[in-house]
Structure formats: C-alpha cells, structure tokens
Amino acid sequence: MSIGLIYAVTGALLFSLGLYGLIVHAHLIRKILAFNIMGSGTFLVLVGLAQRGGEVDPVPQALVLTGIVVAVSATAFALILARRLYAANGRCTLPGEGEA
C-alpha cells in the first residue's frame, strides 16, 4: 500500500461520512459542513488514486485546486441562502425536515 492509496482510501471514507451527514442532518450549517467533508474526500481520491504508484501527477493536483475554489464558492452561496432563510422565517432547516 502506497501513501497515495492510504489517502485515497481515507478519501472514500470521508466521502461516505459526508454523504451520511448531508442526508441525515436537518440543520443547514451541518449539511454545509457535511458537503465540505464529502468534497475533501473526493479530492483525496482524485490525487491519492492517481499517485498510488508513488509518482507525482500535477494534473489531478491542478484539478483539486479548481475543485477547492468551486467548493468555497458553493459554501459561501449556501451560507448566505441559509442566513437569509433564517432571517425570513427563523428556522435553520428546510421545510419538512424538522428542527434537529
């Protein structure tokens, strides 16, 4: 097992954990946290799996840089929506998902 593969396996775990959190949590900020963990896991798989032979691959590294910027954009947007929703109806959850 190479270093790359160790982190790729960790990435798969983080993706699954994040997906679980995204589905079961009702609180919007927790959903956003879970999405970020899921994203980090995906990024680890992207680089770790490509580098499982021990050789450094700049292409997936560049892809992950792009992915991190996309993730922070989505996070900022989701947070503003959540705050605005809270201002509008005083709830941190989506309708139908209950206050958790």
Binding site: I3, Y7, L14, R30
Partner: protein, 89 residues
C-alpha cells in the same frame, strides 16, 4: 519504503476520519465548526504528504481559513440572533 513514514500517514489518515466524524456528530454547532477548521489544517498536512504543496497552501488559506471564517461568522450570527428574545424579522 520504511515503516516510519507509513505509520505517520496512517496516523494522519485515521485522525482525519475521526475528526470528520466528530465534526458531524458534535452536538454543539460552534465546536463542530472549530473541529472542521482543524480538519482543514490536517488536510493541508495530508496534501503536503502527497507532495502537493500548491494544494496544501490553498487548503490552508481557502479550505480551512476562508471557509472556516465564513462558517464561524454564520454560526456566530445565528446564535446571536437566537439569544435575542422573539423572532427576528
């Protein structure tokens, strides 16, 4: 490859998974966000171990730093709003 660095990577990997789990299940939202920032810093360490210093820099600055700041700001705001009596309009 000797066993030393290997163990170090397994330690980082295990800690990452554990902190991610704590982030998701900690009842206190503020603590969750702090744990998430720690998670981001550990990710930066993982990137350095993967010989990806560019990502390590970006993860520390954007992933942990900016995302963390955004989340802390949002949580602080929600909790401040909640402490005030009555609903805000």
């Amino acid at each position: 490859m000797s066993a030393g660095p290997w163990l170090f990577d397994l330690l980082i990997a295990g800690t990452l998974a554990w902190i991610a789990w704590r982030t998701l299940v900690t009842p206190d939202l503020f603590k969750s966000v702090v744990l998430f920032i720690v998670f981001g810093l550990l990710m930066a360490l993982a990137w350095a171990r993967l010989a990806a210093p560019d990502i390590a820099l970006a993860e520390a600055a954007i992933g942990a730093g900016l995302t963390g700041a955004l989340l802390l700001d949002a949580v602080g705001h929600l909790q401040a709003a909640r402490r005030k009596p009555g609903k805000r309009q």
